[in-house]
Symmetry: C2
Subunit: 182 residues, 2 copies
Amino acid sequence: MGARVRLTAAERGEEVLAAAVQAFGAAGYAGTKTDEIARIAGVSQPYVIRLFGTKQQLFLAALQSVCDRIEQTFREAAAEEPTLASLGGRYETFLAERELLLVLLHGFSASGEPAIGDVVRERFGGIYRLVRDLTGASPTEAREFLGTGMLLTVMTAMQVLGPSAVPVPWADEVISTLGDPA
Amino acid sequence: MGARVRLTAAERGEEVLAAAVQAFGAAGYAGTKTDEIARIAGVSQPYVIRLFGTKQQLFLAALQSVCDRIEQTFREAAAEEPTLASLGGRYETFLAERELLLVLLHGFSASGEPAIGDVVRERFGGIYRLVRDLTGASPTEAREFLGTGMLLTVMTAMQVLGPSAVPVPWADEVISTLGDPA
DNA sequence: CCTAGTTGTAATTGACTGATAACAAGCTCT
DNA sequence: AGAGCTTGTTATCAGTCAATTACAACTAGG
């Protein structure tokens, strides 16, 4: 515990939120302990709870945060070129920041909790609409796009994508198709 | 309790496994209590543990079971007509038996546990290969097919599909595209 | 029928974990 | 300087949950 710096609650909250995204991304909602989040953030476990009220509220905050970032990423891509191919190119960003898609996936998995399900439905619907609005894609095109995105997401979760991936031949085969026409 | 019947360990194990598929499908690996599985199966919690050793081994058994059933469903479809469209028609089966896809999804989410990740990679790779072998689909076609499948899976998880679905407009729009060409 | 194996439960435990309470240390403003 | 608010911790609790143990009930084979 070296030179602990005092931050405002808002600043510390940001740090804890970042730690929460990491931890929830790795182990899911039920599988993550607030203690682990506290360890990553470098604060005590009770302080994590005080900053966000409950573990569930912290998860919801993490979920909102990653959805914001996903949408922002898509907006940036569309600003360069408003096509599905352009947005699709950003999946490299998501592979580099695995937590984004993983927290979203764990949100799907935890949709049994009503409060989480509500947010998940709202935000995923928003992403679907955003993709269509930004690119002018048809429903069918948007479905194909998000389907591929979900496939890459679950492949990220099962650790066959990215730098520390477990090598499996079929994953390479799938990746090699990504540029291909739908 | 009532007229408790004595079964062989193998028979009771089947019942417990079915209960486990239901429970894990609803709440995920970490989120499910062995006690809940026992309640559904109508046996005591310690007996659930004794039949399968550990909660993790029970989850793995449930995962293997649903993967077997998914593969069997695809094989049946291919026997009728060996095309992707034919296999795709079986997603209605999966929407009726939500637990199948949900347990698989929760397997993805729990891939952080090494023992679970190993099985998930193995089985999902097997399904990918099976789809290609049964239909002669190209890697790109198989990717599109599984991508759509994963999208439907996460939509099932977030409860926007199926009979007891929360109605959201975008879900209907996605569903309406399912017959469309890729 | 009776003994040996099998099926099943009740009781319990020990570790874990989210949350609360009480308190300590710092900052700010007058 | 010191009162009052903010930041943060330590200590602790109450509930949960997978797993173990010991035991009870049943069944089949000789």
